[in-house]
Symmetry: C2
Subunit: 509 residues, 2 copies
């Protein structure tokens, strides 16, 4: 690998120019991120028409910068002198090349048609769900499937269109790997959940039942973030209808929501969003504006939220540590033991139909169902009109429960109304990767239970900073996994984790 | 004037293209406005480096769109067929031409040098003020004066450079008119304030002394905004270190700050910011993104804030209306009468050295002093090193009080560290215009005191909407004043207003 010393002036100059363009694109994108955060969290209700125009302008400026002739020329120049570039520089060129080529290959009219269709799809989907009437949404869904197929064909006419769409969210992980992992989850979780269903073990599920004041929940959410080491100088906590996290390493904000009847839900949701924001904050400051200062894709992001939510927040040592803090806000928890809190946080609900309310095990069957259906939709093996029946059949087959309405069936998620086909798998892949990363961290640091019990998260976070966050997009996802864990992506650790944890919880041999 | 019917396809097409460009520039500017609001109000402290880069990118994109060859070509095309354009279209072309020419005439390196110098000037000024040491700031001020002189020369080498700088903030009002008005204020207010000083009248100044809880003050600030008719669906109230208002007609936010010892200050400050936001909200929705949907310049904006703050908020009928609401938040005001509140809100402090703490009369002498000094600085008639002495001499001459330190003298304002020379006059011009507009509104609507006493502001606001807000930048400032009031810009109404009000308050002759 060449070092900077051997770099010619031309290469250095071209790289500098590319970097400048990339930084501009990144700044426009980050500005749009603030505008969207504002819109979700604090914008006055009448602000929508102007905000939509502002976001649309930023999006076209960004597209124009990315597809400008000069961007393509610089990429070609730099690829021609690739051996004069450092590894980091080559990684930047690789990432820009990828987004540039995708942007170039799809006609702007198609991008706008998709954007317009999804804008209109949202109210249609909302109404169809409210009125529990899939037929209202079906024509829109059909249009979106067609448009996204067309979109995929522009990008790569020879590839499986679903693989092309999946690569929007997870560009470097091949679909076969993803599929193998999802199939393994299905094949191993279905019998595990059945065994749990058959088990006589009764978990202490009532630990968090009651009414919990919203303001006190918010105070406790801040305690959670304090306990985990959230860097408040680089973030904030606000409420939003759908919890999310967004921003840059300098400003990575968390949102959540509160339901007076669901204290546990707000705690786990805040831990989840902490994981996302903490990844963002861990990206290197000095690489802000280039791919080296940006997070890897959705599975890696989700691995960070799931690692903190599940491996830390749903662990028994965490509740030993955190319950005293929770009791200060909610004295009624005085009666609850860490063991009971742990059990309540890990109960498996085999009769639940709603993905966002699912536990750590059944969750993945919700995802597998969506993956199988959207794949068949995009390939043309499934007609839109048949979605509700196939959906319900699969719920019956994998989870032993059949939705009685489309509202609690195939209309429950917003994703397809966004035209997001290929997004769902990244949720499960994130959980699987979380387990692999956590095992690698323990392999290096030793068992982390005692540290969690003492509220000491610096070692774990330090490991994640060094092995995941600090790299930004330096490595592709498979390479990042290999570098961080010494192995290629595997579901082994996730399955070991759930077998061991739920075997003990539910007294399975 | 030609109508759309006679417009050729070419003219319509060129106008459409100009409009599209202008809307993009406006959207980028409004996005930057949200980013600045966020930075002032809620951004985490570590966010600055990334935010600065985002704002700098948006600013250069906007500059590039404005100075692009196509913008200039479209302007030329449209000016050539000017008689085929409607009056509104001609107004848009006039406004774009002006900003385009200014942007074209100043070399980008100079713009960047000024931007960099002012960025560094801010901490220098802050420290100089903290350490009460003008000499620390003097070299920076000297550089800024030179750079701004150079800036003005690029725009118009034949004009008085101060006039060119003033036109950045007030483009269509000639400096002679502004100067005449400021001189009249000086000549008439100095003896009026002396007469007040000599008067035996004792105003009830203690009405609002005490300690007032910040949260209750915030609740009362919301009451104030409710009472005046702030459209909450298009705005919000937050706290910020320096109160301001910003946004668009769809989203015009207000900020304020609270000081436990200064309840009156927070009320008048919120009314002031209401006036700004209410103007913005009144701009026509359908013209969003073009100059017809944007506010006229600083004097007109300030006329709206001062009209509400002074002619409404410092009036006796307002306190008759609002005191009962204030007493609900602060029962200690039970003892205060409307007359006493009115007197407290209008006390003239002739020993005050600080502009932002000044009353409605002495305020303008603070402005005149700054105007005279900055004008002499830009013309070269005054050396930077002599500023403190000249400043103190003028305070002694006009206000009868001499600053003992530079911190409470010529270092008190941030404006010069921003390189803003020519900005100060617009504050006074705004007050003067407020009086002229209020008089014109009363001329049409009849005396407004009874309506204010009843908390009925719809008539006044309707008049402002129709005669000021609805026009956006359709008219130049002098034409807008003429259209709204039937007269050219004059200090007559302001001087009548203060003579009558303060004559009665202080029993003069």
């Amino acid at each position: 690998m060449a070092t900077d010393q051997t770099q010619t002036t031309d290469a250095a100059e071209a790289y500098g120019r590319l970097e400048e363009r990339v930084e501009r694109i990144s700044n426009v994108g980050n500005a749009a991120g603030i505008l969207r955060w504002d819109q979700e969290v604090i914008m006055p209700e009448a602000g929508t028409p102007a905000r939509a125009k502002q976001l649309s302008t930023l999006s076209s400026l960004s597209h124009e910068l990315l597809t400008a002739e000069e961007t393509g020329q610089l990429l070609e120049e730099l690829e021609a002198v690739s051996d004069e570039l450092s590894g980091d520089q080559r990684a930047v060129v690789r990432e820009v090349r990828r987004t540039h080529d995708r942007a170039m290959s799809v006609p702007q009219e198609l991008v706008e048609e998709i954007s317009e269709t999804t804008s209109n799809a949202h109210p249609t989907w909302t109404q169809a769900r409210e009125e529990d009437d899939f037929e209202q949404f079906a024509p829109t869904l059909e249009t979106l499937v067609e448009l996204k197929r067309e979109y995929a064909e522009h990008i790569d006419p020879d590839a499986d269109p679903y693989a092309v769409l999946f690569a929007e969210y997870e560009p470097y992980l091949d679909l076969e790997t993803a599929e193998e992992i999802l199939e393994r989850l299905r094949d191993e979780l279905v019998p595990l959940i059945e065994a749990i269903d058959d088990s006589d073990a009764a978990l202490a599920t009532a630990a968090f039942s009651g009414q919990f004041d919203d303001d006190d929940q918010e105070a406790l959410a801040r305690d959670v973030l304090d306990a985990l080491g959230y860097d408040w100088s680089r973030g904030r906590l606000d409420t939003a209808p759908h919890p999310f996290s967004s921003g840059t390493q300098f400003d990575a904000r968390v949102t959540t929501r509160f339901d007076e009847e669901d204290l546990l839900g707000s705690i786990t949701s805040v831990i989840h969003e902490f994981g996302h924001a903490n990844y963002t904050i861990g990206l290197p400051d000095e690489e802000y504006g280039t791919p080296l200062g940006e997070s890897r894709d959705l599975s890696v992001h989700e691995s960070q939220s799931r690692l903190w939510e599940n491996h830390v927040g749903r662990s028994r040592p965490f509740w030993e540590h955190f319950l005293p803090t929770a009791r200060e806000r909610f004295p009624e928890l005085e009666e609850v033991s860490p063991r009971e809190a742990y059990e309540a946080a890990n109960q498996v609900y085999d009769d639940n139909l709603i993905r966002v309310e699912a536990d750590e095990l059944t969750y993945h069957l919700h995802i597998v169902i969506r993956f199988e259906i959207e794949r068949a939709l995009i390939s043309g093996d499934l007609e839109v009109e048949d979605v509700p029946e196939v959906w319900n059949d699969k719920y019956e087959e994998y989870l032993g429960v059949r939705p009685e309405t489309d509202a609690e069936g195939c209309l429950q998620d917003i994703h397809w109304s966004h035209g997001s086909f290929g997004y769902f798998p990244t949720y499960s892949l994130g959980s699987v990767l979380a387990a692999q990363l956590y095992a690698a961290a323990e392999d290096e640091l030793g068992d982390l239970d005692d540290r969690t019990r003492d509220g000491e998260f610096d070692d774990l976070n330090g490991w994640l900073r060094e092995n995941v966050h600090a790299h930004g997009k330096r490595y592709t996802t498979p390479d990042l996994i290999e570098e961080a864990t010494g192995e290629s992506f595997t579901a082994d650790y996730f399955l070991e984790y759930v077998d061991s944890k739920y075997g003990a919880l539910y007294d399975l041999e």
